[in-house]
Structure formats: structure tokens, C-alpha cells
């Protein structure tokens, strides 16, 4: 396929002509901006780019992009996206989903698209609530969350999107915050570069139904002490003064938060991030403030052949295959 990019597109060139209809202050706006910027920076061809979504506030996303877009049905975007890539593996396909869309009704499809490693960027907007249907608890809502369906507080234990993705066998798992544009774009860029299914959880604020549920680590004032941005090969350090870090708990399969210079801890004690260590990714995914920082960035990135590559390896259509021959490749007889 030949694609001509007549001129370099700007982020706004990736915006469609449709009025954006999220609530004022919704975190989705920031994500929209970040994705438009990412696409512009990556210089992708809009006609080869497709956004496929389910149903939810987050899933309205495709309408606001000037690329191809398919707003499908609740939870089913992964199936649609898989079929699309089987029809045309050359397309660059993003799946946009929410915590309800992707982990409640669509949990199974997420599981399977990840295990199959279909080459997609799967972006889950996690606001820990059902926005579109007016504020019911979602599978990521915390115990005790009050909502129309849990007036006494939610009792079901929340799922960790990262744990689910790793449990499904995902090969790329990352995490970012809606309002941290720079970091979000870095993460999305890494996700795009990964061949195979890339899973990105974005903490997204829903000011209407679950305002500031992430404030313990998204609050900018405390961010240095409550966020740890991982980088492959770099020590797991954070803190206003850069002297805090994560180290292996001696003799145990566990980690702990430490301060360099305290209790004899030195720089060398700090664990170095290895994005190919799944056990580490799993552990980092469970750390929560205040005891730990919230760990953000590419937790796991260990690519293997994508589904598309495997499918292609099974062979393609032969140009010279005659149906007339093939249909006769069985016991036949001729009546004279």
C-alpha cells in the first residue's frame, strides 16, 4: 500500500469536526490531546489509523479523531479489532476502552486479545466508575465505594488492570496519568513501538461521579513522593530529593520502600528496573501510596512474535489456486 503524507500533520489535524461532548473537566480531554499529539509526533498516516472502541464515555473517543473510527458495542472492541487486523494487518489499530467496558462486560475479550498478542494499542481509561450510565461501581472501584448500585459501599474486591493483563500473558503493560501529558505521550509512543498487544492503563479522573479518586498520587504537589516513573535499566528511585527507592526485601520474594542514606541504605541497594522481568512488573503493579509510590510508565515490555506475524507465517493465498481443481480433489466419477 502506498501512502502519501502530503505534509506533516499537526495534533489538531487529528481532530474530527465533531463537537466533543464529555463533561467539563473530564480527564478524557487530556487523553484525547495526548493521543492526537502522539500521532502527530509519530507522523502516522490518518487513513491507515483506526480507533475501535466499545461503549462508555471513554469509548466515544473515535468520534473525535479524524482517522477511521468504529464505536462498537459494549465490551466487544477487541473482537472487532482482531477481525479488522485479520482483514488487513497493515492497519494501525488502537482499541479504546474503559474500566467497565474492558474489565466488566469485556473482560474475557481483553484476556484473549492479550494472550493472542494481536498487534494493537489497547488503552484503558480507568476512572474506577461507570461514567456513561451515571456512576455505578466498576470492577476497579474500591471496596466501600458508594454508588447507586452500592448505596452501602461496594463489597466486591477491585481488579487490578495490570494484574489482569499480566495474568493474561500480555507482553507490554504500562500505566500513566491523564493530566501528565509528557509522560503519557512517552508511554503511548512506547506502546505504539511495541509489535503485539500493548496494554496501557490510564488513570482518568471523572469529576462528576468519582472526582479525585486518584488524588493520593495525582496531586501535583506531592507527585515526586507519590509517583515513581520507571525506566528500563534505571534504578527505581523517586522522591522530592531523589533519595527514595525500592529495593528487594532481603531473603524474601518481596520489595520494600527505602531511603538512601537511612539505615545504611546506599544507591546500590536500589533495584534496577528490568522491563522484561514479569515478576517485578507484577510486584510494582501492586505498590500503592502512602507506603509506596504509585509506579508509572512501562512496567513490562518483552516482545514476542505478534499474532499477525504468526498468521502470516501460516501462508497466504496462492494466486494460481484453481477452485475447479480443488473441488475435484476428492473421489469423483463421471457419468457418460
Amino acid at each position: 500500500m502506498t501512502t502519501t503524507i502530503p505534509q506533516q500533520l499537526k495534533p489538531k489535524d487529528f481532530a474530527s469536526d465533531q463537537e466533543v461532548r464529555w463533561c467539563p473537566g473530564c480527564g478524557d480531554y487530556a487523553i484525547l490531546k495526548a493521543i492526537q499529539k502522539t500521532l502527530a509526533e509519530l507522523e502516522v498516516a490518518p487513513e491507515r489509523t483506526v480507533f475501535v472502541s466499545g461503549i462508555g464515555c471513554s469509548s466515544r473517543f473515535p468520534y473525535y479523531m479524524s482517522t477511521y473510527g468504529f464505536h462498537t458495542i459494549h465490551g466487544r472492541a477487541p473482537g472487532i479489532a482482531t477481525g479488522l487486523k485479520l482483514a488487513n494487518p497493515d492497519l494501525d489499530v488502537w482499541v479504546i476502552t474503559g474500566d467497565g467496558d474492558g474489565l466488566s462486560i469485556g473482560g474475557n475479550h481483553l484476556l484473549h486479545v492479550l494472550r493472542r498478542n494481536v498487534d494493537l494499542q489497547i488503552v484503558l481509561f480507568n476512572n474506577e466508575i461507570y461514567g456513561l450510565t451515571k456512576g455505578q461501581v466498576s470492577p476497579t472501584s474500591r471496596i466501600g465505594t458508594k454508588s447507586p448500585t452500592s448505596p452501602q459501599g461496594s463489597i466486591a474486591h477491585p481488579l487490578s488492570p495490570v494484574a489482569v493483563a499480566l495474568g493474561a500473558g500480555a507482553r507490554f503493560v504500562a500505566r500513566a496519568i491523564d493530566i501528565d501529558q509528557k509522560h503519557l505521550i512517552e508511554v503511548l509512543t512506547a506502546a505504539h513501538a511495541h509489535r503485539g498487544a500493548s496494554f496501557v492503563e490510564i488513570f482518568q479522573n471523572c469529576p462528576v461521579y468519582n472526582d479525585d479518586v486518584f488524588h493520593d498520587f495525582t496531586d501535583r504537589a506531592n507527585a515526586p513522593d507519590t509517583q515513581l516513573h520507571v525506566e528500563h535499566g534505571k534504578p527505581l528511585r523517586y522522591g522530592k530529593d531523589g533519595n527514595r527507592g525500592i529495593r528487594l526485601k532481603p531473603g524474601a520474594l518481596d520489595v520494600e520502600a527505602v531511603v538512601i542514606g537511612q539505615n545504611g541504605i546506599t544507591e546500590d541497594d536500589i533495584l534496577v528496573h528490568d522491563q522484561t522481568n514479569k515478576t517485578l512488573a507484577g510486584l510494582l503493579g501492586t505498590l500503592r501510596p502512602p507506603e509506596f509510590p504509585e509506579v508509572l510508565g512501562v512496567l513490562y515490555n518483552d516482545p514476542i512474535d505478534s499474532y499477525e506475524m504468526q498468521v502470516a507465517a501460516l501462508g497466504a493465498a496462492g494466486n494460481d489456486v484453481s477452485l475447479n481443481d480443488l473441488i475435484r480433489k476428492t473421489r469423483t466419477w463421471t457419468v457418460a
Binding site: E47, G69, R76, I80, A87, N88, L91, S322, W333, T334
Partner: protein, 626 residues
């Protein structure tokens, strides 16, 4: 591998004495491990090679591997062959080959009075009788008095035939089916050459097995000849049918669907067929067959469930391929939400339902046609789709092609109804020249000039198929109501009315693009019309044929198009005083006909998991004409 069948077989020596039959139903029945399917298939080939018309129906046990000797472990293969047009697998069995007591027990119900039973006495041990639930040996009391019993110790006869090949006892016993086949081939005056060649090929890597099986085959055949000479057994002759000349193969409904889809793909000029499916009885074999057709551009996808399966097909159609999905009733139920999406976004999609007996899990291995309501009405909203049904195994080919044509031309889901009977039943098929079939290239939009994703073609009412990857056509679609033309989300009242009307009109309009309905048999007016659809074609057609021979004023109308109905159906039905609708359900087509045409049609309903018998239909004709 093709053999030429001489137009007439010259009767040779012993054959002159043989009784002549027009058509015969033979049923091979034994334990799952007895190789009955293979035996039946081979008998079929020899029968086809002899130039006869035929229909076969394998009858598998519901269990994967039931314990040996039990009634629920019985596997049978039925073949109906004749010099005349054969359209069903046979109302009643003329000759039953029972390889053990359980096989005898479960097959008796369908044996014609006076029918022949060839029973392997060697397998009628006390243990086997007990397993089959017999208190006493039915070969030794008067249980079988209404039939002609030919007790033969096939076990012993086989063992001695294969002596000297050094087989284990188990291996030797496995040759029993070839002995029985040999006998039946003798009985119907068939050749052994093709079977011998097949054995050689099949056991190419184990020559002893080829030889011993062949020895058993020949022994069975020879046994017949000897017994005939001694007057203990009678051979028959069935003249060849007057089949049109050309190259033939047998084809099941499953195979015909597969070839129909692939041929449709070519006629539509599309490169890829993406088949998203999830295994379910009796639909899985279509997936299995397509999984081997990558070289033809077929991409099969075993999804995690039926919902993902249909969604992958929708995604594929969105991506410009031909999206197809398949299942049986319970799985189709899961797809109904997504079918609504496909209707709403107006994408081509073929949905195959190989129906089985319901409700719920029902009887997965039994046939029924009780998903018509689901196909026509089974969605939320006003959500019309085209619905087609295949009449015979061969017809599956044409109907599958037609489903592809309509789906791509009208940008619509098309539901294709088959059933468990058709899926497995085989018929001889005069193979068409696939390159000579009509082409109807699907149009995909590439011109950005004036492009509107939901602007509808004035003739077909189809929207443009604008495929991701095409420069300049970027647009967004979704399941929310769309503004006519632009396709933007629209909550406008008048627009929703217009779009609903359009969706209804688009499907209704297909009536102008399909053949006028004709009678399948009989006059276009008369006292009684039998209106059928799907796999009931055979028994209805035969019953009408026989009724007409008896001078009854009855015609057969068979519907391939169930939504929309052909445009002239009203006037055709008008020509009859009475309408009877035989269906393997509690009355579904009959309900649709009554509401559409306000005709006092009556149902003839059978829900036993079994096809109609010709006699079922015949009695109903008599009753209707009384």
C-alpha cells in the same frame, strides 16, 4: 481420482436371476468402534460409481466414546439409493446390518415390516445382550418375527478369513466391517475394485492390514455368491439412475456451504474471507473445513466465544474482507446483539446457523428447524436482516453463494439457515464449472469526491463500503443512530424514523432482486399447496410426487427466501384452496405466512429430532384433502 461410469451395466451371469428394486435403504449399525461410517461411505462410493442416485445420512452417537456395546454408543450409517430420483435418506430401512445387539435394538424402530436383518451372531454374547438391555437373545425368540433375519457369524467368518496374516485378535475383529461390506456389495451387485484400491491406499503404511481387510471383503462377497447358489440368500439389482452426464462427487451440506462461500468470495472479487467462529455441534465441521483453505484466501479464527466470533467477522467486513460467522442456535443467541450492530452500521456479514434441536442445549446431535423465528425476529429494535435457507445438501452451495451476493450488494447481514441433517447428509453432485459461475463484483468506495458514509444508493439502498486504509475516506461509524448521509450521531426524531424506514425498505427491496417463487412440483394452482423450507424439501417433494401420482391436486412450494419472501408469493398462494406447512418445529413459517398473507395456512409439525418421513407428509396430505 476419477472413474467413468458406463451409462448402462450389462447384466452378467448370476445377475439375471436377481430381483429388481427401484430403490433401497440400507443401514449399517454397530458400535462406535466398529467402523460403520467408513463402511457406509465406501458402500456409497461403490453405489455412486454404479451410476445410482443416492442420499446418505450418518447417525453418530451423542457421546464421544461411549462404553463398548451400549445402546448410546451405537454408530450408524444409512444410505438410500435407487434408479429414481432419491431425495431423502429413506423413511424406513429395508436392510439392516447389525454388528451387535445394541445396534439391533436401537435400529429396529425404523426397520420396515418384512425388512431384512443381517446380524452378526458372533457378537450376541450374554454380556453384549445385557449391555444392550436384552433379557433374552432376540435372535432366538420371536422378537424379530416381523422381519427376515439372516443370522451370520460374521465374527467367526472374518476371523477365519484373516487367519494367517498374523493380526492380533483386536485387529482381526476390526476387519468385520469389511466382511459385512463385501456381503452387501455382493447383495447389490457392486464391484469391489474401487474398495480394494481404497484399502491399499488407506493402509499404505501397513500392508498386512490392507491385505487382511481385503481378504475379509472378498470373503464376505464370496459368501454371498455361495449362499445365493445354495438358495440361502437373494441378491438384488437396482438399475442405474438416469443421471445427467458429467463429473460427479458426493457432497455433504457442510462441504457445499464451504465451497459456496469460497466460490462466492471469488464471484464478489474479494481477496479475503475471515471466518470467525466458536466450535459447536453441528456447525463446527464448517470451521474445520475452512481452516484448511488458507491458500484460497480463507482466514479462520477460533474465537473465545460466539460474541467475539461474530465481532471478528464484523471487524473483518469493516476492513474490506468478507466476514462470515457460524454457529448453532444457542451460539446464534449470543450473537444477536452484534447482529444488531452490523445492521446499524450496514456492513456485509454472513451468519450461518446449522440448526439443532432446542430449546437450550436441547439435543445437539439431532436435527430441527426451530430457529426461524430467531433468524427473522430475534433481535432488539426494528432490525431486519435477509434470511435464506438451504433445501438440500447440494443446495447449500447455491444458497451460500447467494448469501455472499446479497450481503455484499446490499451491505447487510444475511442469515443462512442449514441444519444438522443437511450438514451430514451426502448426495452425488454434478460438479459445476466454478469458473463459469456468474460474477457480481462487490464495490468498495475509493473516490473521496462527495463521499458520505451513510448516503444510500438509490437502487439498492446500500451505503458505500469505505474501507480503512483508503485515503480521503476517513469517517466514524457506530451503533448509535446515524444521520442519513453524514453518518454523524443523530438524536433527531425524523432522522430516526427515516433510518428505521430505510433499514426496513432495504431488506424488503431485495424481493425485487431474487427469482419469482415457483412451485417445486405440481401445478401453480390447485386444491392444496405444501409450503416448506429447509431440509424438509426431500420428504415433502416425494410425498407430493406420490400424491400426484395418486391423482391428488397438490403442489409443492419450497421457499429459499424467508426474508424477504419472493414478491409473487402472495399471488402464488392465492391459487390454492388450502395451504399446509410442514416444519420440524412447533409452527414458525406457518406463523409468518399467516401474518404476511392472511392465508389460513395450517402447520404440520414434527419435533422429534428426526427428519420427516414421506409417509408423515403423505398422511397429512390425505387428511387435508379429505
Amino acid at each position: 481420482m476419477s472413474t467413468t461410469v458406463p451409462k448402462t451395466t450389462d447384466p452378467s451371469g448370476s445377475q439375471q436371476a436377481r430381483e429388481i428394486r427401484e430403490s433401497v435403504v440400507v443401514r449399517f449399525a454397530g458400535d462406535s468402534g466398529d467402523g460403520m461410517q467408513m463402511t457406509g461411505s465406501q458402500f456409497t462410493i461403490e453405489t455412486a460409481l454404479a451410476g445410482l442416485d443416492l442420499t446418505t445420512f450418518p447417525d453418530y452417537p451423542a457421546e464421544i466414546r461411549a462404553p463398548v456395546g451400549t445402546t448410546f454408543g451405537v454408530s450408524a450409517f444409512q444410505i438410500h439409493f435407487g434408479s429414481v430420483d432419491v431425495k431423502t435418506a429413506g423413511d424406513e430401512v429395508d436392510v439392516l446390518i447389525a454388528m451387535n445387539p445394541a445396534a439391533l435394538k436401537v435400529s429396529l424402530a425404523n426397520l420396515s415390516l418384512g425388512g431384512t436383518i443381517v446380524a452378526d451372531t458372533g457378537s450376541f454374547s450374554e454380556r453384549n445382550l445385557l449391555k444392550a438391555g436384552y433379557d433374552a437373545n432376540p435372535l432366538e425368540d420371536d422378537t424379530l418375527a416381523p422381519y427376515q433375519v439372516i443370522p451370520l457369524d460374521i465374527t467367526r467368518l472374518t476371523m477365519s478369513a484373516v487367519e494367517g496374516f498374523g493380526l492380533s485378535k483386536k485387529e482381526a475383529l476390526r476387519c468385520r466391517n469389511m466382511w459385512a461390506l463385501g456381503l452387501m456389495l455382493w447383495m447389490y451387485d457392486r464391484d469391489l475394485t474401487a474398495t480394494t484400491a481404497w484399502l491399499t491406499k488407506k493402509f499404505a503404511s501397513r500392508e498386512t492390514l490392507a491385505q487382511s481387510n481385503n481378504a475379509a471383503l472378498i470373503a464376505g462377497h464370496a459368501y454371498g455368491e455361495t449362499a445365493e447358489l445354495s438358495g440361502n440368500l437373494v441378491g438384488y439389482r437396482v438399475k442405474d439412475a438416469d443421471l445427467p452426464p458429467g463429473q460427479y462427487r458426493t457432497i455433504t451440506g457442510t462441504e457445499a456451504i464451504v465451497w459456496g462461500l469460497v466460490s462466492g468470495l471469488r464471484s464478489a472479487g474479494l481477496e479475503r474471507l475471515v471466518f470467525g467462529s466458536y466450535p459447536i455441534t453441528p456447525a463446527s465441521p464448517v470451521l474445520h473445513a475452512l481452516a484448511k483453505m488458507r491458500e484460497l484466501g480463507v482466514y479462520t479464527f477460533q474465537a473465545e466465544d460466539e460474541i467475539a466470533a461474530i465481532c471478528s467477522a464484523i471487524g473483518a467486513s469493516y476492513g474490506g474482507a468478507l466476514g462470515v460467522t457460524s454457529s448453532s442456535g444457542p451460539g446464534i443467541a449470543l450473537k444477536t446483539e452484534a447482529i444488531g450492530l452490523a445492521v446499524s452500521v450496514e456492513l456485509p456479514l454472513v451468519i450461518l446457523n446449522v440448526q439443532r434441536a432446542g430449546p437450550s442445549t436441547g439435543l445437539p446431535t439431532k436435527t430441527e428447524q426451530s430457529d426461524l423465528f430467531q433468524a427473522v425476529y430475534g433481535r432488539n429494535g426494528d432490525t431486519p436482516v435477509a434470511v435464506l435457507a438451504a433445501a438440500t445438501s447440494i443446495d447449500c452451495f447455491d444458497v451460500a453463494r447467494e448469501a455472499v451476493r446479497l450481503a455484499t450488494k446490499y451491505m447487510t447481514p444475511v442469515i443462512l439457515l442449514s441444519d444438522g441433517y443437511l450438514a451430514n447428509a451426502a448426495e452425488p453432485w454434478l460438479i459445476p464449472d466454478l469458473d463459469a459461475l456468474e460474477d457480481w463484483p462487490a464495490r468498495q468506495r475509493t473516490d473521496p469526491e462527495g463521499f458520505q458514509p451513510f448516503e444510500h444508493d438509490p437502487e439498492t439502498l446500500a451505503r458505500p463500503w469505505a474501507v480503512p486504509g483508503t485515503p480521503g475516506l476517513m469517517h466514524r461509524i457506530g451503533g448509535i443512530e446515524k444521520e442519513q448521509g453524514s453518518g454523524h450521531i443523530s438524536y433527531d426524531s425524523a432522522n430516526h424514523q427515516a433510518m428505521t424506514d430505510l433499514r426496513v425498505a432495504k431488506i424488503a427491496n431485495i424481493a425485487n432482486d431474487i427469482p419469482e417463487q415457483d412451485v417445486a412440483l405440481g401445478d401453480r394452482t390447485g386444491t392444496l399447496a405444501l409450503v416448506g423450507w429447509g431440509s424438509t424439501f426431500g420428504p415433502i417433494n416425494k410425498a407430493v410426487e406420490q400424491a400426484r401420482e395418486r391423482g391428488q391436486s397438490v403442489s409443492h412450494i419450497h421457499l429459499r427466501y424467508l426474508n424477504p419472501f419472493p414478491a409473487n408469493l402472495a399471488s402464488l398462494l392465492d391459487g390454492f384452496e388450502k395451504i399446509l406447512v410442514p416444519e420440524m418445529n412447533a409452527g414458525q413459517l406457518v406463523t409468518m405466512l399467516r401474518s404476511r398473507y392472511l392465508v389460513p395456512a395450517k402447520g404440520l409439525n414434527k419435533v422429534t429430532g428426526q427428519p420427516f418421513k414421506i409417509s408423515d407428509v403423505a398422511s397429512a396430505i390425505d387428511a387435508a384433502l379429505e
